[in-house]
Each structure stands twice: as structure tokens, then as C-alpha cells.
Symmetry: C2
Subunit: 278 residues, 2 copies
């Protein structure tokens, strides 16, 4: 497995790859969710490339950039075990050199609702770095997790709108046995918080159950989800949304494919999760 730490090393290693390249962009501190992406990339492509970069431009000023968990040696060992060919581990000053001023912006509700309301500028940071990584790595396919559903939609929209020559593939969320969606941020959970954190998944399952039993009033489902989450003392709701799965406009009636998503603080840790219904 090659580890490229500079743009020049990346170009050199990339040039040696003939055939299709599957790409898994990550912020590191890998878990089974990332590895599931690496495995699909391995199955579908001649070569597999991953990146590990805690992208500063997608963190807000009061977010956890400096404390975001990092363990590069462990990450590299995990990627090597999945037969990754190339890992790109750039320095921030190579991705954002002095004088950098260009941003890729998906405008409109898709990048302004839900996560964006709590994290202004987040998706501009995501789409900009993903666009750059696509140009640098030149993959045939890139793999993203459904856990970050809005991110997946925004990246797909960016790639389509700018005619980016990369197929964006979205894979299912990988979960702990109690349903908690795998996330690097789960490592922040202390003591009782870990047990409390599965309230996100439980509320999503409650929404699905209500839908399957015939409930079509979206606000009724949101209300029941909020009630369930508020019954967990360590939790604090950021948002509970039932939105059109394509444009993320909030729904009144469950009459089409819907993204049920939520962001909840468990103690100081902000977690997100989602399911599709309909």
C-alpha cells in the first residue's frame, strides 16, 4: 500500500494505476462504516484509493476541528487489511495553500436545510474539498455512506451539475448491535451517554413502525419521534425532519419517498442519523 503525503507523490502513484479506481474519501479515525466502503470499492474497481484528511473548511468556528479524533497508524493498518492500494494523507497547507480563494457551492435548499442550519458553510467546505480530491485522485467511482444522507445528496448534485467524471456511489449505514450508526464521533460518548445514544435509532424505528401501520401525517410522526427522544434525559434535539428524499423540502404528508433524519446532542456530542421510508 502506497501512502502519498504530497500532491507530487499522489500524482506519481496515481499515474501508475491503469484501469478503474474506486475512491473512499474519509476524515480518518476509521470504523466499520468506512471499511464497508473500501470493500465495495475493492470489489468494483481495479484499484482502491482512500484519503484521510480532517478538512478544516467543513468545520464551523465553534465545532470540533481541533479535538476531532485522529489515529493515523491505526487507520493505515485498517486500510491495508482491506487491500487498499493508495492512501492520500495531505497536509492542510497543500490542500489550502496561501492565496486559496475558490469554492464550489451547491446553492438552494439542498445545502441550506437540516445540517446546514446548525453548521453554516459546512457543505461549501465539503463540496469544495470533494471536488479537489476528485481532481487529484481522478477516481472512476467514489463511495459515501448513507449515514451522512444530506452530504451524499449534495455531493451527487455537485458532481452532476459540474459534469464531474466520477460516479458517486452511496452505501448503507453500518450500525452497532443496538442500532447506533457508526461514527468517529461516537468515541466522544462517555459513560451513560453511549447507552443513551441509541435513542436516535429507536426514534427512527418508531417512525418506520408508524408509517408501516398506516400513519401518513408527517407532523404526527415527528411529534412522536421528539417525544421519544425527549424521554431520554441525556439528549437534546437539534432537529427532527421528515423531508422529500430528493429536494429535502419538509413534508406534510408521507405520500412519497421520505428522508427521516435527525440531529441530537447526547451530552456534548452531536450525532446524526437517518432512514428512508416510502
Amino acid at each position: 500500500m502506497k501512502v502519498a503525503r504530497t500532491l507530487t507523490e499522489l500524482k506519481d502513484y496515481r499515474r501508475a494505476m491503469v484501469g478503474s479506481v474506486g475512491f473512499v474519501p474519509t476524515m480518518g479515525y476509521l470504523h466499520e462504516g468506512h471499511l464497508s466502503l473500501a470493500r465495495v470499492a475493492r470489489a468494483e474497481n481495479d484499484h482502491v484509493a482512500a484519503s484521510i484528511f480532517v478538512n478544516p473548511t467543513q468545520f464551523g468556528p465553534r465545532e470540533d476541528l481541533s479535538t476531532y479524533p485522529r489515529d493515523l497508524d491505526r487507520d493505515l493498518a485498517m486500510l491495508e487489511a482491506e487491500r487498499t492500494d493508495l492512501v492520500f494523507v495531505p497536509r492542510a497547507e497543500d490542500i489550502y495553500p496561501v492565496g486559496f480563494v475558490t469554492f464550489v457551492d451547491v446553492t438552494g435548499p439542498l445545502s441550506q436545510r437540516l445540517e446546514a442550519e446548525s453548521r453554516p458553510g459546512h457543505f461549501r467546505g465539503v463540496t469544495t474539498v470533494v471536488n479537489k480530491l476528485f481532481n487529484l485522485v481522478e477516481p472512476s467511482r467514489a463511495y459515501f455512506g448513507q449515514k451522512d444522507a444530506q452530504q451524499a445528496l449534495v455531493v451527487q448534485r455537485m458532481a452532476a451539475d459540474l459534469n464531474v467524471n466520477v460516479q458517486v456511489v452511496v452505501m448503507p449505514t453500518i450500525r452497532e448491535p443496538d442500532g447506533l450508526a457508526m461514527s468517529s464521533r461516537n468515541n466522544y460518548l462517555k459513560g451513560d451517554e453511549r447507552r443513551a445514544a441509541n435513542v436516535l435509532y429507536r426514534s427512527l424505528m418508531r417512525a418506520r413502525e408508524l408509517y408501516l401501520s398506516g400513519e401518513r401525517d408527517a407532523e404526527g410522526v415527528r411529534r412522536e419521534m421528539r417525544r421519544l427522544i425527549e424521554s431520554e434525559p441525556l439528549s437534546q434535539i437539534d432537529y427532527v425532519s421528515i423531508a422529500d428524499a430528493d429536494d429535502l423540502s419538509e413534508l406534510e404528508s408521507l405520500n412519497r419517498r421520505a428522508l427521516v433524519s435527525l440531529a441530537v446532542r447526547i451530552g456534548k456530542t452531536r450525532l446524526i442519523d437517518n432512514i428512508m421510508i416510502g
Copy 2:
């Protein structure tokens, strides 16, 4: 010469090109300036591709989108005579389909001064369409004219910042015998306006002459340029600028490489021109 009118046709024709591709993006109504770019592209690459697309997103609401001159048959004949291999002539609805919301934005003074002050949103339109065309045409090199100096700087900055795999080449301005920079908009000039239009070039030559005779006070040079232009009754100054050639910050002293640029209305026609000094 192949003419691609859809994205599918473009992909098919592009796939058949092995080796380097030189690309000349244009808005059509070609003149000697465009053809000089096609000739360099021909000399430096295995294949030459051009595009003809009057890009709506780079025109402001009160600009000349609907009246911009068009003559596709003539343009195609001129490109064929320069041994162009492929011309991409997309429809606006294929470049900006329903639901399109993504923009590439070079932020900061580079895209906010000079042309941008008169044409808000202009460079966002330019960088977005150029980014898309680069992804669609996948050229090795792309050729732009120095006549649109700020556009060239903004496109180079976009390509560098986003790690675009295209070498952006900027070629000298081609001029009429009296010095008027070639431009599709010269076709708007009526009667005496054509003669009056060379006041742009004369004022640039006056700036160079002052510089060569030792003048280093930028405002003194600007003042003399404005005086000369104002002596032409058909002219109305939009801006006269002497700016740092890299970041376009306005200069007080001519102590480094400077872009001397101006925008002047001759009757109703807005013309731009520039030279480098220092």
C-alpha cells in the same frame, strides 16, 4: 471536423481522441483573436477542440445576452479552416438543466474588482461554465486571450485552487491595424464609433509612453489616460485601472508588474482592453 450538439455526442467524439487535446472555449462570432488561439492549440496538441456557447450565467440582467452576435455557420467554417477536430455547440438546457444549482466561485478581490464592479456575478458565470467545459471536454491545455486579462487571472486561479488537470494558457491580444483589440462586440460599433474606439488603445499606449519616460506615479498616469479618453466625445469611461498584475489591487506607484486596464463605452458598446507594464 466533428460537431457535437449534445453531451452524449461530445463524450463519444472525445473518447475517440488519443493523446493531448487543446481546447479553445468561445462564445462564437469568431475573429482573428480566437483563430490565433486555435492555431496555438493546433501546434501544441494532438487534437484541437473548441466550444461555441453564449453562456447566459455570465451576462447580467441588463446586458447584451439576447443581442450578442451569432453566426454559427461562419464560425464552423473558420474553425474547420484552422483544422479544428471537434466543436462543441451545446444547448443552454444541456449545460444548465432544470434543477442546476452548483456554482464555482473565485472569492476575493480578483473576481470583485474592475469588470466585476460593472458586471456583478459575471466571473461566477465564467468560472462555473469553464469548470463544466473542462470536465466535459477533458483537455490537456485550454487557451484564453489576454484581452480578457481579469478573466484569464480568475480562470487560472480557479484551475489552480481546485487542482483542475488542465493547463491554462494565455495568449496575446490580437488587434486591428489601428490598435483596437479584436472583440465580437466591435460589430456593434456604428459609423464614427469605430474610429472613436481606438481611444482605448491610444490611452494604453500613452500609459506605456509615460512609464517608459520615467513616470512612476500611477494616479498621474490614470489621470492622463482619462483626460485623453474624455477628449473623445463618443466615449464614456467605466473604469481606468493600474493594478498589481497578480492580485489586481490598485497601485499607487509603478514599482512592480502592473496591469493597465480600462472599460469604456463607445456609444452604447462597452469595450475593454489592457496592457502589462513593468
